[in-house]
Symmetry: C2
Subunit: 325 residues, 2 copies
């Protein structure tokens, strides 16, 4: 199989992880990193993002490593004109709109745009759909953490007056046990978790801090409706205690089946030492799928739900049938 | 969406569970149970299996609830001539051959044959492929139980001179922990598990028991290479202690990712009160997928690896994009 030629757009934590994960594959080759900056700390070619159109024939897949808050909605459709794209758009309530925007552009351009990969959305979405599809009347709960939420930290950092910020999400242990027993009725993502924010303000001004806290608590989708804890800390404390990026979580689904309504529990668990590395690993694998879908004549937008599992693997289907089924 | 018209072939534990699970769905309707027997303990129509050809126009999906040891290899291709089929063929090392046999017949007949659904193969296969695809150089282990293995019990019961039999598979706890730490090198399915057989012989004759035990220990794929414990017990003891059907297990995958080789663990766990009910639930969901694939113009054999997740669900893709991604 020919090597898949890849580009990375954006070179934050996720872009750097994608670069490193691509080095761990044998079938994907990095052509370059597209950036608005002239130089980056990478040994890969750095290409002005404005030149992306010139690379349409040299790149099979563009990994869009851009923030979900504003960059993906504003910029992703443009990139789908030039190559297949894979993004990690993580605003769950807006996925359908983003999907539709990418569909129009990718179909017209004859490309495949895979949207909202990563682990949630992504691997967790897959597990929600599989488990609920096989268990009629399933009870299903998703729990996050303990760990750092990249999307929510990103949202905090975009608030004016914030110098540094992280957001940790913590699941309630008793909620996990209730979910496994199938007694989680009434438990929602919102009441089973706490959103803990550590924020370094640009100054110690009380009015500034009050406005930042208000901006956090009133941010729709991200914070409204959750138990939110806002802690203002110094840059020193931030650098010392809040630069790791562990994460993980559980998708727990239960259902009562058959004539005697027997109890069945499906649990999918992730324990991730470094969130952007795993997000990148999922994104990289879906680049393989995007390329193969296009090669087989498909175009348009795809979520992970519409992509057959074997398309993600470096292995041939024949090897999988022999070794993995 | 029109109701999917289903038939069940075979009415053992699995067939009965499929019947009960179909009742829990709102989009699948049971036309009848195909059987060689005249009457069955069911309120569904019982149809002679020899008449299946006459039902080709009245049935969308045939759920093949037949044993893997001989029935599926011998009979499944015949059924694929008349309708889409879904089976739970569980002889892992023979899946590729079975797939190929079903491919020929189903393609010629314009039907879709989904092979080897259930949970292992089935949901476990999916999780093995997804986790290994996203973690380059993954270390992966599958653990079964504690629980009853239907396929292996079936194999025991087919040995001449066996009146009743069950086989339990037990995972080693320390093997689970090693796998989560990524230190499971050298651990195989075979040395992390014990296969425990409880067999009721047709008579108490010593030579009979010796021959049965030898037949078990030398059965390829099923028992050769495993630590096997064979216990001969009375029918009374069997009826009292060995008629439940719990099962479950874990697929544990770890990988080291990115520039600093951070550790990542993916674990998929099933805890099933009644194995045939869950196997049936997965099989029923893949019937939905088989029908939809055929409706979209596809034909031939499919494993779970080749089927996009959204095709399994009663929900529309639009609802999933809004609620599950």
């Amino acid at each position: 199989m020919a090597t898949i030629k890849a580009g990375i757009v954006g070179y934050g934590n996720l872009g750097k992880s994608v670069e490193a994960v691509i080095k761990q594959t044998s079938d994907i080759e990095l052509v370059g990193v597209f950036s608005r900056r002239d130089s980056l700390d990478t040994d890969a070619p750095v290409i002005p993002v404005a030149d992306v159109a010139e690379y349409a024939d040299k790149i099979d897949v563009l990994y869009l490593c851009l923030g979900s808050a504003t960059d993906i909605p504003e910029q992703a459709p443009e990139f789908a004109k030039y190559a297949c794209t894979v993004d990690t758009y993580d605003n769950h309530r807006d996925v359908a709109r983003h999907y539709s925007a990418m569909q129009d552009v990718a179909e017209k351009a004859g490309n495949v745009a895979v949207v909202s990969t990563g682990w949630d959305p992504g691997m967790f979405s897959l597990n929600r759909v599989y488990a609920a599809a096989v268990l009629p009347g399933a009870q299903q709960n998703t729990f996050w953490g303990p760990g750092l939420s990249q999307g929510h930290s990103d949202a905090l950092r975009r608030i004016e007056g914030v110098a540094s910020a992280v957001q940790y999400t913590l699941p309630a242990e008793e909620a996990l046990d209730k979910a496994r027993r199938g007694e989680a009725e009434g438990i929602t993502g919102k009441n089973a978790h706490k959103r803990q924010c550590f924020v370094v303000p640009e100054s110690d001004d009380a009015a500034l801090k009050e406005r930042i806290e208000n901006d956090i608590r009133t941010m729709p989708d991200y914070f409204v409706g959750y138990e939110v804890e806002v802690n203002f800390i110094s840059q020193e404390e931030f650098d010392k205690n809040h630069t790791g990026m562990p994460h993980g979580g559980h998708v727990i689904t239960t259902g009562e089946l058959g004539a005697t309504r027997t109890h069945h529990t499906v649990e999918y668990t992730l324990e991730l030492d470094r969130n952007p590395d795993f997000t990148a690993a999922v994104q990289v694998a879906y680049g393989r799928a995007a390329h193969r879908l296009k090669e087989s004549g498909q175009t348009g937008a795809f979520t992970v739900l519409e992509i057959a599992p074997y398309l993600l693997s470096e292995k041939s289907l024949e090897d999988m049938l022999r070794e993995d089924v």
